[in-house]
Structures are given as C-alpha cells and as structure tokens.
C-alpha cells in the first residue's frame, strides 16, 4: 500500500524521462527516450492519487486498468503490472512509446490540471520493457481451441491487436502482410529512434508463440481475393486492417520533381529499407548540408523531419499551414524536434516547387496563411494572405499531409462498400463491413489516425468476430446515417 499522504503525493513532481542529449542523438538512430529506471518508475507510481473514479482509464481507447497496474509498479511488482496491462493491451511496449497520452490517459489525469499528470505512457513502457528484457512474457494459451479460422489482412497495429484477441479466444489466426517485413506502419513508418524495430519484433514473436501464423509478401486483393480467403482457403471471417494507402500531394506545380518525396516513401526508404546504412542497396538522396522541408504538422511530419536531421539536413524545417496550436503531432515529438534543431515555419503553404534543368528540386514558392473561421472539424481554417509569397531554397521536400485509402482491396472486392472518401463502410460498434464475414478497422475505416485507435478498432472487431463465429448471425452495418466515414 502507498503510505504517502494525498498531500505528499500532490507535492511530488513528475519524473523526467531520461533521454539522449540532443547533440548526440541528432547523429544517431538509436532511441531518444531511454526509459525509466525501476527507482524512477516506483517514484512516479507512488505519485498516483488512485482516484476512485479513474478518469485516466476512461481516456484510454482500449481501457487499460491504469490505476491497478500503477499500484503494482509502486509495490515493485513489475511482472504483475505487465499482466494487468496485457489484459487490455497486447502491445504495451509500442503504445507506451507512441500513444498520444496527452490527449488520452494523461490528458484525463486529475493532476493534468496542475500540469503534472502521472507519466502513464512512460510507466506502461517501463513495465512492458521490463517484461521483455527479463523474458517474463507469459504465453496466454487459450482455454480451448474453437477450430475456427480467421484471416487478418495487414500486420500493423489494427491487425496485430485483432489477431491477439482472436488467438486468446482460441481461434486459429493467420495474418497476411503485403510487405516483406511484419509490423506495417510500426516498421515502415515510425523511425527506429522513436520505436526500435526490435521491440516490434519481440511483440510479434509473442503472437507467434501464441500460435498466430504470419504470411509476408501477401498482397490480398491481388494475390488471394477476400472471396478466396472465405472460400477455398477456409477462413470463416476476415479482418481488414490494411491501413491508409496512397500518399496525398498538395497538387501544386513541380511536385513530381526529383527530391519531392511523400513521407511514406522517405520513411520507408529509411526505416524499412535501411537506406541510412552503408550496406543497404536502397538509395536515398544525400541530405547532408542540404535544406530539407517537411510539409505537415502531424506525427509523420515530425518523424520525417527528425529523420532528416539525423541524415545531416541543414536546416531541417517543418512547414505547416496552420499554427503550432493546431498541429496534430504529439507534444513530445514537437518538443524533441525543436531540441534537435528543427526550424518551425508556421502558417505557410507551398504554391509551387522549382527545379533545375536535370529535374532536381531547388526551391519552393511559399505563401503566408492566416487563421480564419473554424472548419467542420473545429480547427481554424488557414486562409491565404494576398501578396505574401516568397521563395525559399530547398534540396529535399517531404510531403506529410496525409493519405487516401488504398484502392487495391475495394477495387478487387466490389461488394465492399466505400464511403465517398474511399474508406470502408463499417458499423463502428462491431467493425462489420457490408460483406458477410468481413470486418475492418484502423486507418482503412477512419482515414489517417493513431496506432492506439487502430488497435482499439482491431479489438472491437475481434470481439465482434468472435460473436459472429459463435452465433453465425450476420448483421450488416446499420443505415448509412449511423455508419462511420
């Protein structure tokens, strides 16, 4: 039991996450956040007020029993804490690193009002790492095997979360991945310095131990169709967690010059294909000493710009059409980027890219924006300021303004209804699509969102798949007005 008084706990300050010094980490790809020590973790856990109504749990998309696990951390029972987390979150080492906690559990924490919410993300990560490092992972063998086979398409966060829950319920799960490596956005998108690939591999290895099968190089829709999976391949249900697909470009002249990358391409070349290593055969334009501008204000933009810093970009800039307040990136990423010397150019938008005669990018024509009235999403709309254009030198531009849904699956599956944005029509509470036996979740349903929301959707679908497999009753999504989009 925590023997500190409420007052004492309120007076303690939030422990700081130990991290690599900005000057050294700017030159390497190893993880920036070093993780809490056991002492720091216990100290932080003891600060928790153990609210009777734990609002932090309400703030968590997958409902991790936060106060329970923090109580165990305070007692030094780290392995027990891991067990508690794993009941609700199968990938805590990943979520502890990449969740936008300030908008979720930590944002809800009553201590957030005093500006020092419990470092729930750091504690989750600590517990998960402790379990991984000390090899304490428990294989959750299901109580019984149902003999039902489920195909999960996509090995990103939605697919992995769905596969975990289905395996725990005793179903036989096969995960299909289009790329040659497992993990989806966790390996091609999120950089090593924010989420080491070894962590992703270890979490996936745990699923393999639970009996989940993985197939790489499997482009569902092109190779096997969904009907093949449900037919001759013998699966009784299919979950689609294929992610957001095609990168968006600003639709301005010059955006196809050499040196204008989508964030997906830039990050894939570096993260998945290891273009930063001397032994990789995948090339990347040389960024050393060149101005690199990343367009966008989300986590992907921060990942891209901080990657550019590590590859020698000078200066590395974020160019965003709204103000810093509207940037969707996690606050920690913005903070880290700034510490690493990233330049932030707010309220600016590209009008045109200029190149040399060989077709290489040389400059960008920018325009100043100001904030107008709020849009449907509640964020203030950027409006061009007339006569405010200027030209900036730039060697490489990375476009991180979002993705449109990938057309491959819907194209191959006409009975899978799409919204007018190209995302899949599903019932939000069950993940059911318009095709019998087919469920979907993550970015293919919501458009670009976060790892944890995708995981949450994967879990919702897993429960609904289980229900469908047991009852055999298929209720399609309700009328379109209630359908997500």
């Amino acid at each position: 039991m925590n023997e500190l008084t409420l007052k004492e706990r309120m007076q303690m300050s939030r422990v700081a996450m130990p991290e690599q010094y900005p000057d050294s980490r700017r030159r390497n790809f190893t993880e920036v956040n070093l993780g809490l020590t056991p002492e720091l973790a216990i100290e932080e856990a003891r600060r928790c007020l153990m609210c009777r109504r734990a609002v932090c749990i309400e703030g968590c998309p997958v409902g991790v029993r936060i106060t329970d696990f923090i109580d165990l951390v305070a007692e030094g029972e780290f392995d027990q804490a891991a067990k508690v987390i794993k009941q609700d979150n199968s990938l805590p080492a990943i979520c502890g690193r990449v969740c936008p906690q300030e908008h979720q559990c930590e944002g809800a924490c009553v201590l957030a009002r005093k500006g020092k919410p419990i470092a729930i993300g750091a504690l989750e990560r600590f517990v998960a790492d402790y379990e991984l490092e000390n090899d304490l992972m428990q294989t959750y063998s299901p109580p019984h095997r149902t003999g039902k086979r489920v195909a999960v398409v996509g090995s990103g966060p939605a697919g992995l979360a769905c596969a975990t829950d289905l395996a725990r319920l005793g179903h036989e799960v096969t995960v299909f991945e289009a790329l040659h490596e497992l993990g989806g956005v966790l390996v091609y998108g999120i950089p090593e310095f924010r989420l080491p690939k070894e962590i992703v591999q270890k979490e996936i290895a745990q699923l393999e131990e639970m009996g989940v099968a993985f197939v790489t190089n499997a482009v569902i829709g092109m190779m096997d169709s969904i009907d093949d999976l449900l037919g001759e391949e013998g699966f009784e249900a299919v979950f689609l967690g294929v992610g957001a697909g095609l990168p968006r470009f600003p639709q301005v002249p010059g955006e196809n010059l050499i040196g204008v990358y989508s964030a997906n391409e830039f990050l894939t070349r570096v993260n998945l294909m290891k273009a930063y290593r001397a032994d990789s055969d995948t090339p990347l334009l040389d960024l050393r000493g060149r101005a690199v501008s990343v367009f966008g204000g989300g986590n992907t933009a921060m990942d891209a710009v901080r990657t550019a810093v590590r590859l020698g970009a000078a200066p590395a800039s974020i160019i965003y059409r709204r103000s810093e307040e509207e940037m969707p990136a996690r606050r920690e990423e913005v903070h880290h980027a700034r510490q690493e010397g990233v330049r932030f150019s707010m309220l600016a938008t590209p009008l045109e890219f200029f190149g040399n005669s060989a077709g290489f990018l040389e400059a960008v024509h920018l325009q100043r924006m100001e904030l107008g009235d709020p849009d449907e999403g509640g964020r203030r709309r950027p409006v061009p300021v007339p006569g405010s254009e200027w030209i900036e030198e730039v060697g490489v531009a990375v476009i991180a303004i979002g993705n449109s849904p990938n057309p491959l699956l819907p194209r191959a599956t006409p009975d899978l209804d799409q919204t007018r944005w190209g995302t899949l029509v599903t019932d939000e509470t069950t993940g059911r699509t318009t095709k019998r036996g087919v469920f979907a979740g993550g970015d293919i349903v919501t458009g670009g969102a976060t790892v944890i929301l995708a995981m949450g959707a994967g879990r919702v679908a897993a429960a609904s798949i289980d229900e469908y497999l047991r009852s055999g009753i298929w209720t399609p999504p309700k009328d379109p007005a209630e359908v997500t989009g």
Partner: protein, 283 residues
C-alpha cells in the same frame, strides 16, 4: 522463399528465371508485375511477369542486368531461393478485340510485350510483332513471338539481323503500306517508346506503353513511381504500368529515373569489383 526452377541466359546480361509461385501464377494476368527482393539487404524492384503456368504453379521473369540488384538477381541458378516475391501487382493489360495490333518490344521490353501480345492474339486480334535489339544476340523471344504473332519483324541497330535500324522503321512501313492499325503496344527503353508515340500520334493510332519508374513497395503506398499522364499525376504501380503513350510525359519519367544514378553506379562498381576479386566479396 521462392524456389528458382530454371535459370538460363537469353542474351548477354538477359536472364530467364522460372520461379515457383503458385498463388501469383494463378492470379496473374498479362501486363502485371511482381516486386522482387533478391537479398536480405537488397532493394525491392519491379519486374513484369513474362509468363506463368497456373497448373504447374510457376511464373517466369526476364531480367536484364543493369545495376547491382539486377545483376545480383541474374546470378541465381536453378535450386536457389529468392527471399521475397510479391504480386501480381498493377493493372492488367487491356485485352479486347481491337482488330489489327502491332506489338513492339525493344531489348528486354520484348519480355513484357510478349504475354500481352499472346493474350491479344488469343482475343482474336491480328498481331504483328516488331522486336528490336542492339544486335542479333540481343533479340529475345523470337520463337515465342513467332508462335503467337501473324508476322514478326526483328530489327537490329547494327544490321546483324533482320531490319537494319530501329523498331520505328518497320512500324512506319506498316503505317504507310499495311492495313489500318487499331492498336500499337510499345514496350522498351524510354526513347523507343517516345519515338513510337511520336510516330503514331499524327495518325491517331491508339498506342499503349508500359512504364518502368522507380518503385519501392509497388502497392501504392509510397508514391515514388509518380508519372504524369495527360497532365495528371498517376501512380504507375496501381494506376498502370500501362498508359496512353500520347499522354505520357516521357521527359519527366526519364529525369525521375536518373534520381539515384550516382549511387547506382557506385553500387555497381562495388559489385563488379567484388565479383572479380573473390577476397573482396568475402570482406
């Protein structure tokens, strides 16, 4: 892992690989490609499927050794395994009864033109093939083309075989003196495809080319393969690889394909050095 069932040279630096890939073989349609990764730290490269046998479960790739990756791939022998092969990808060729079709393959492009030419023949078209190469030894798939085409015109740059000159020579003759042409399919080096497009444009002959931009994933995710067609940006991997030749911006494609020329040259030099010096390879 994908087992290589057969490997043979068709021409200097051009190799035929027959690979066990039953699922791809079953689904593949003419005009589609696969992404290949030949080694654990290798690049992902697109290669059009030259042939496939659904019942026997194999596909054939024909690869010209140009840079390190393709040369490395061309060292594989029967019994070797290729780590990664994903597909079939891209939109299939449009196979309809057009009438009179001219299928043109330049160099290794013949390998890409061949399956589509065969499918067009099967769909009831009259197919005339023009297959070009630098010299006689670079003409590939002549027998296969003869088996599916009504007429075949080989061309060589040096005149060592067939028509002395470029593929546009016989095409110009066919346009002026042959029966009206309903479709031209042209696949080969960019300058060849562009020359064909310029030749057919004034005659308003529908012309299709297959583009070969740099790709990474091949599934639409990265957008590295952007091409401009009719002033619009398209992703060759999901919207193509075949496009209306008269709408393609070939200059842009040519420039974009030079993005990594220095890197590619350096890797190729390293590769060549390691091949000539066995100790170098071990280091």
């Amino acid at each position: 892992m994908f087992e290589v069932l057969e490997a043979k040279n068709l021409a200097p630096d051009i190799r035929y690989l027959r690979i066990e890939a039953p699922k791809i073989a079953r689904r593949r349609k003419p005009g589609q490609f696969v992404i290949v990764r030949a080694s654990s730290n290798g690049e992902r490269i697109p290669l059009t499927i030259a042939d496939a046998h659904p019942a026997e479960g194999w596909i054939a790739l024909i690869c010209q050794g140009v840079g390190k990756t393709t040369r490395q791939l061309n060292t594989v022998a029967a019994g070797d395994r290729i780590p990664d092969l994903a597909g079939p990808l891209g939109m299939p060729s449009r196979i309809e009864r057009f009438g009179n079709v001219v299928a043109i393959g330049g160099g290794v492009g013949t390998a890409i033109a061949y399956p589509t030419a065969a499918a067009l023949k099967e769909a009831g078209n009259r197919v005339v093939a023009i297959i070009g190469g630098r010299s006689r030894e670079y003409i590939i798939l002549e027998d296969e083309m003869r088996a599916v085409a009504d007429e075949v015109y080989p061309t060589t740059d040096d005149g060592s075989y067939g028509y002395h000159g470029l593929v546009t020579g016989p095409l110009a003759d066919l346009i002026t003196s042959g029966p009206p042409i309903d479709l031209v399919l042209a696949i080969g080096p960019i300058p060849m495809m562009k020359a064909v497009a310029e030749l057919t444009r004034p005659h308003a002959i529908e012309t299709v080319v297959s583009l070969n931009p740099i790709m990474v994933d091949g599934t639409g995710m990265c957008g590295g393969c952007r091409v401009e067609v009719g002033g619009e940006t398209k992703f060759a991997c999901v919207d193509g690889p075949e496009f209306d030749a008269h709408q393609v911006d070939f200059e842009l494609l040519t420039r974009r394909n030079t993005a990594y020329r220095d890197f590619e040259q350096q890797r190729l030099n390293e590769w060549n050095a390691s091949r000539h010096d066995p100790l170098g390879a071990a280091l």
